[in-house]
């Protein structure tokens, strides 16, 4: 069926439907009149076109695309969507809008500790450096940075840093534990014991106290007798 015949059938059917809808009370008198007039005029145009042997009627293409309107709608949709996401989605601490994690200092410290315990000392040190940019006196960052420096082979540098912290912030237990280990590895048993004593005077967390248990046992045993007890393992 050609385009015009399609339209003729559609318009004539619409006129019939309109009658019945009007009879059923679906359409106001006024609307009925206007619609009927309109359909009739359109149907007549199509009927004449068919008589003249045309295949289709010219259709003007309306291209009043308003880019502004489109942009506005897109912007609005985007904004609404982001708001819905913020309202409904899960927000973890430290999440940014783009999902990059803007880590707080605490998170960076945790992450650095994790890296270090996995053997990635350079990664840990870099993170501590980050923390120190924002908070130059952060004792945890300073201490563990020194410890990781020591572990990664930069022994002198690490020792210096640890000593600095131990002087500036002597009440931080962790630094004494690490210094004890460092001194011990350098053969300075007495100074190591000294650090352990300092540690005892502080309220150290269990985690730190546990680290030095084998060391303490060995040092104290060595101090009381001349026999050295080998301890396997180590943190």
């Amino acid at each position: 069926m050609s385009d015009l015949e399609d339209q003729r059938a559609f318009l004539l059917r619409s006129l019939e439907d309109l009658e019945r809808e009007h009879d059923a009370g679906d359409i106001d008198e006024q609307d009925y009149g206007a619609l009927k007039d309109d359909y009739t005029a359109r149907a007549a145009t199509v009927l004449r076109a068919i008589e003249q042997g045309a295949v289709r009627v010219a259709v003007p293409v309306r291209r009043r695309r308003s880019w502004v309107a489109l942009g506005g709608v897109v912007l609005f949709a985007l904004l609404a969507a982001v708001l819905v996401a913020q309202g409904s989605g899960r927000r973890d601490a430290g999440d940014t809008l783009t999902g990059g994690i803007r880590q707080s200092s605490t998170e960076k410290l945790n992450e650095a500790g994790r890296r270090g315990s996995e053997g990635d000392y350079a990664g840990g040190i870099a993170l501590y450096d980050d923390v120190l940019v924002a908070d130059p006196d952060n004792r945890e960052a300073l201490t563990y940075r020194g410890w990781y420096l020591f572990l990664s082979g930069k022994r002198a540098e690490g020792l210096t840093q640890l000593l600095e912290v131990a002087t500036a912030q002597a009440d931080y237990p962790d630094v004494h534990a690490f210094l004890a280990v460092v001194f011990d590895r350098n053969g300075l048993s007495a100074q190591a014991l000294q650090e352990l004593r300092l540690l005892d005077g502080l309220d150290a967390p269990a985690y730190i106290r546990d680290i030095v248990v084998p060391l303490r046992d060995r040092l104290e045993a060595a101090a009381s007798s001349t026999t050295t007890v080998a301890v396997t393992g180590g943190g």
């Binding site: 003729r8 004539l12 006129l15 019939e16 206007a34 619609l35 007039d37 309109d38 009739t40 005029a41 359109r42 149907a43 007549a44 009927l47 004449r48 309306r62 709608v73 897109v74 609005f76 949709a77 985007l78 609404a80 969507a81 982001v82 819905v84 996401a85 913020q86 409904s88 989605g89 899960r90 927000r91 973890d92 999440d95 940014t96 809008l97 783009t98 999902g99 990059g100």
Partner: protein
Amino acid sequence: MTALVRHPRFRRWGWIVIGALVLVSLGRATLETGPPRTTAEQVRVIGATLKCPTCRSQSVSGSDSAAAKAIRNEITQRVEAGESADEIRTAISATYDDVQLIPKASGFEGLVWIVPVFVLILGFAGVAAGVARWRRATTRHATEADRILVNKALDER
């Protein structure tokens, strides 16, 4: 009675009353909280937002697996200790990988929230544009000749 009901003024006032009743009820329903929930109910709600780590696609509330039961016990204890739902969720996801069933609001995961809303709004805008485009700007008036022609065509059908 019927005459009264059919009267436009009655209906106008009726609509105002209906609107007021609906607004007041919805407002009350939104602002007030319901009765307190039992521990089991709170556990169910929290568990529904955590994935059972053993199962395929079930939540902790929806599974009978050992891991889900253990996590439910843990949630129960924490609920009884007075922890908030968020605290409990955070605590559980500290030991289990990928158990949060609510996607994050931000980052790539956030797209799962953003895209449908974006598409829905664009869909409505599209329909509005379509309706505006489909509508003719003016209605035409038929001439007497038009009417005769069309009536003839209608009779032939």
